[in-house]
Each structure stands twice: as structure tokens, then as C-alpha cells.
């Protein structure tokens, strides 16, 4: 799994790519939480995530909860089909704010 952090005016985007599973989710968790600890609103781009398991979902839940506690924006961007199916299974598709792309996020502000 690769993680690339893009800085945009007013928000960071953490783009994950590949498989987010037990062997990689700790890196995803660190990247997400580091952005939020720095006080940066965050979108997690999941467009190129081909597989996610409950450990990856747990990283997203942790990010969501930390952002809520710090009153920061946290959302998911361009969620891939495999990830969406797991979010639906976990009943989280109605919990996380999700946007088709950055334009859709900015239009929602």
C-alpha cells in the first residue's frame, strides 16, 4: 500500500493506493492521525484502494472520531467499489461524509 499526502488550500488529502489490510493498516492509521493531530482537515482518497478489511476500516473510524473530537473536517473521497461494499457491510456508508471528488467536497461547503 502507498500513501501520498497532498496539501490543498484549507485541506489535506491522504491518497491510499493498493490493499489496506492487517499488514498495512497501521501505516494508514498513522498517516491519517498525524494529519489530524497537526490540526489539518482531512479527506481520505480511496479511489485506488483495491481491498480493505476491518483493520483498515478501524483506521478510518479512528480518524473520524479524532476529527469529530477536534472539530475538524474528515471525509472520504472517490470511494472505490470494493471499499464501498465493506463500508456498507459495516453500516458506515451513512456515517462517513463521502464525496465523489474534491470539486464535490468544495461545492458542499
Amino acid at each position: 500500500m502507498d500513501i501520498i499526502i497532498h496539501q490543498h488550500p484549507g485541506i489535506s488529502i491522504a491518497a491510499l493506493r493498493g490493499e489496506v489490510d492487517l499488514s498495512t493498516s497501521a501505516c494508514a492509521r498513522s498517516a491519517i492521525l498525524d494529519c489530524l493531530i497537526a490540526g489539518t482537515p482531512l479527506l481520505v482518497d480511496l479511489s485506488e484502494v483495491t481491498y480493505i478489511d476491518s483493520s483498515g476500516i478501524a483506521s478510518l473510524v479512528e480518524g473520524f472520531r479524532m476529527a469529530r473530537d477536534k472539530q475538524l473536517t474528515f471525509g472520504l473521497l472517490a470511494v472505490s467499489e470494493p471499499v464501498l461494499r465493506v463500508l456498507q457491510l459495516a453500516r458506515l456508508d451513512q456515517v462517513f461524509p463521502m464525496y465523489a471528488d474534491l470539486d464535490a467536497y468544495q461545492a458542499s461547503r
Partner: protein
């Protein structure tokens, strides 16, 4: 031969390491792709097996180890039977429970995923040797009109 395709017992063995799960998923997908299961069903089954293996690694073996996990896969008609075996100390079967989906917290999702994705799930202690056994059955759901 049933609708699920050919019926052979497949057996995989791998070490209880997080880094071994990718290869497990690949092999299971390959085996199930030879049946007539839909891609979406294969993905669900692979997710459930991955979660079960994660639980063995994290909770039965208490972390990565070179100890074994054995997975048997048996397609049978409209069902696929799975058996996962480890050699870890016996787990407390009463403690195997997932969290409610409504609780928004990390952890506890794996057992719920397995329960949602498989139609029959039984945890037990192995009798022939030390370790734990998880038997799961996936059953093809009746087709709806839009399928």
C-alpha cells in the same frame, strides 16, 4: 456436480503472519474462481476468511508468528464449506463476539463481518490435537428477479 462448480477438497497452509494474508486471499480467490460463484460472492467469502485469519493471528496466536494456519475449502452444491485450524492455546469461546454495528469504535468488526457474510459459523476446540477450529458454511442466496 452442483451449481457451485467442481467439488474438490482444497487445503492451504500458511504461517500466522499479517504479511501472509495477501497470498492466502490470492489463492482462495483463484480456487473459488474455478467455481461458478459470482465475483461479488468470492469477494465476500475472501473478506470473511481474511477476518477469521486475522483473529487467529491477533487473538489466538497473539501476534505474528511462524505457527501454522490450515484452511480447508470444500465446494459442495450450492454451498462452500470452510474449516480453519490453528495450534494456539484454546480460546475462550464465550469471548468470541463482535460489536454492534451501531457502536462507532475501531475493533470488533471482524466477527460481525464473518457472521454477516457466512450462513453458518461454529467455533470449537480441536479434539484431535491442541488448537482451535472454525467451521463456516457459505450458501448461495436465492436469485432475486433483478439477478
Amino acid at each position: 456436480m452442483g451449481d457451485a462448480g467442481f467439488e474438490l477438497l482444497h487445503e492451504l497452509a500458511f504461517e500466522a503472519r499479517a504479511s501472509a494474508l495477501n497470498e492466502m486471499r490470492r489463492q482462495v480467490s483463484e480456487i473459488l474462481a474455478r467455481t461458478r460463484l459470482r465475483t461479488e460472492d468470492i469477494e465476500s467469502i475472501v473478506l470473511a476468511l481474511n477476518e477469521a485469519c486475522m483473529n487467529i493471528i491477533q487473538h489466538a496466536y497473539r501476534g505474528d508468528s511462524c505457527k501454522p494456519i490450515r484452511l480447508c475449502i470444500e465446494p459442495h452444491g450450492d454451498e462452500v464449506h470452510f474449516e480453519l485450524l490453528d495450534c494456539a492455546p484454546p480460546i475462550d469461546l464465550a469471548q468470541v463476539r463482535g460489536r454492534a454495528f451501531e457502536e462507532l469504535r475501531p475493533g470488533g468488526l471482524g466477527v460481525r463481518f464473518i457472521a454477516e457474510l457466512m450462513q453458518d459459523v461454529r467455533y470449537c476446540h480441536r479434539t484431535e490435537s491442541a488448537g482451535n477450529c472454525l467451521r463456516m458454511t457459505w450458501k448461495r442466496r436465492p436469485a432475486t428477479q433483478d439477478q
